[in-house]
Symmetry: C2
Subunit: 176 residues, 2 copies
């Protein structure tokens, strides 16, 4: 495979925010032409496929402001600066669901939107769960529920799951 790399010629910082940073780069294309690339820099995120002893998957429901809807998702969250993804996964599962897990395994790492963002998602499998008290941030409003294998199959057909990481995690679960 040829690389067809695009080379940065100059970079303009457009926004430095709380969660994201935005820049616009002028790049040289493989054919020598110049073009612009808009890039949303993101710290990266983790998601957790947490499976109970009776083969149910934990989901969280929360309002997602960018899309204006409440979504059913795998427990997930962004990395804190310098945070190890595995430790972030443990933290997010506990904060959002109250559960801790005795067994952790990395399932997949993928880019969520490589056309305009560098966000990378680290997806973990958590099993041997121990129930506890959830500990959301003061300004976080998350409801935890669980769903059976059959309900997942039906939910995939009816469009119940509306975001990419949740679809990836649940589809991987159904292969196991």
């Amino acid at each position: 495979m040829t690389d067809n790399r695009e080379t940065c010629l100059s970079s303009e910082r457009l926004y430095e925010g709380k969660m994201i940073r935005v820049r616009k780069d002028t790049v040289q294309l493989p054919n020598g032409h110049q073009s612009c690339r808009e890039v949303v820099e993101h710290p990266g995120a983790v998601a957790v496929l947490a499976v109970t002893q009776d083969d149910r998957v934990l989901l969280v429901r929360q309002f997602r402001y960018p899309v204006g809807l409440p979504l059913r998702e795998l427990p997930a969250g962004k990395l804190e600066p310098g945070e190890d993804p595995g430790l972030a996964a443990i933290r997010e599962l506990r904060e959002e669901t109250g559960y801790t897990a005795l067994n952790w395994r990395k399932l997949s790492t993928f880019y969520t939107a490589p056309g305009f963002s560098d966000e990378v998602m680290h997806l973990y499998l958590a099993t041997d769960l121990i129930e506890g008290e959830s500990d959301p941030d003061d300004d976080e409003f998350v409801e935890c529920e669980s769903i059976s294998r059959d309900e997942i199959v039906k939910g995939l057909e009816s469009g119940l799951f509306e975001d990419a990481k949740t679809l990836v995690g649940l589809l991987l679960f159904l292969r196991a």
Copy 2:
């Protein structure tokens, strides 16, 4: 399920770009507190799971500047202003691979990164393919290949596929 809606109090436009627009909103949370939400507005995109008569899936390889790597992906692209997603899928498949398809079916619609963006991905299944000449944009460098069911299974284990829409599409393919 409670809605836990967040209400926009004010909105600041930060960037109007070629592909994305960025805004920062001040919102009221369900508990009455105020917070900020950074939102990357995106026109939406389409991806195509194109399956040949001999059960192979078409992939395209292209350099993705935001992540600094060439990726193997389902044929995909963003919507033009006002464009119908189904017609965009037909267009992108032809531009990137040269193929047209006699059979089209919507497989899934999902948000790629609902924590910070409204990008919605429309995923289509295309079958009864007819080979033709690809017609990439002047400044687009895409190589088409195809992959068998066995290679997809192995590739999932080895981390060959590195973006969310491609994982969703290939995992749905393996269920069929």
